[in-house]
Symmetry: C2
């Protein structure tokens, strides 16, 4: 059975939508899809506002209530029958996210076991046969792995990796 | 630069001493070194007491105040110059341990970066060139890795792996 690493933020969870919600609460205005297109959130806001984003991300509870992308639950349920699935999230920059992330996974993926969770700093310690992730930097160390770049605002200009745009496409390619 | 995974519990941190302290507080008596020799803590206590140990391990704060083994800080500091060091701990069974573990690492190893922490469920997602661990089950999936079994009560009967008995021996073998 091949091993498959699946990322959380901007792959299964709509982290940007939640940042935008918190941003609007703080600054009174949300960013549009057009303003976010092609950018990291922190680079789409005025320079004086970007520091606040790290504060959001390290607030207990922030990662507990993220929306999940459509079809992610059902597709991961099926992937979990065919692959040795690991949920691999580079979460260590924000220690308050760690428990929130385990609880979020427990809520949406009760069929996964805690043995399948991996919260790390740098994914270069992880090797799997396949990986789905929105960050190309998480692919570069992999040996002979099949990679799928999950489309996110910040990666729309990337051309070097096979792409998945939603969980239906993940199902088409991997199931 | 070769990558090196270093375990936390019973490799850098004296988890058993802390369990024993909590056990004594709960049941009025601590286990002796002789009673622990060759055993997991949970198998060294009367059957009715073993369930309490998981409660200890998932109590917030338990993993925050573990004693560190002698010389671990100085040897890891030097290893960190020679290897790409990752601290890899199978912590997910106890979600309340996650933040405690990052704070413990920050206290004793301020020269390590959060990018070097990896808290997982099952270490089979991790590949490094070398690994120091007290659990042989964490070695079996490794490809061409050099492994060092850190001596612990529960593993004294293991004969299949090269062993390190303390951090001075780690230094002799790896530095």
């Amino acid at each position: 059975m091949k091993s498959l690493a699946i990322d959380m933020d901007e792959t299964m969870a709509d982290t940007v939508k939640e940042i935008n919600r918190w941003y609007e609460r703080e600054f009174g205005v949300a960013l549009s899809e057009e303003e976010l297109h092609g950018k990291e959130f922190r680079n789409a806001v005025p320079p004086g506002h970007s520091g606040m984003i790290k504060t959001f991300l390290n607030t207990p509870g922030f990662f507990r209530h993220l929306e999940i992308y459509p079809d992610a639950v059902e597709v991961v349920r099926e992937l979990n029958q065919k692959y040795k699935v690991f949920i691999v999230s580079a979460a260590m920059e924000f220690p308050n996210s760690l428990k929130d992330k385990t609880e979020w996974l427990g809520e949406y993926f009760p069929f996964l076991n805690w043995k399948q969770y991996c919260l790390c700093g740098d994914k270069s310690v992880v090797q799997t046969d396949l990986m789905i992730d929105d960050r190309t930097r998480n692919f570069t160390h992999l040996k002979d792995a099949k990679t799928y770049l999950y489309t996110a605002h910040h990666n729309v200009a990337e051309t070097a990796y096979e792409r998945v745009n939603n969980w239906k496409e993940v199902a088409e390619k991997l199931l």
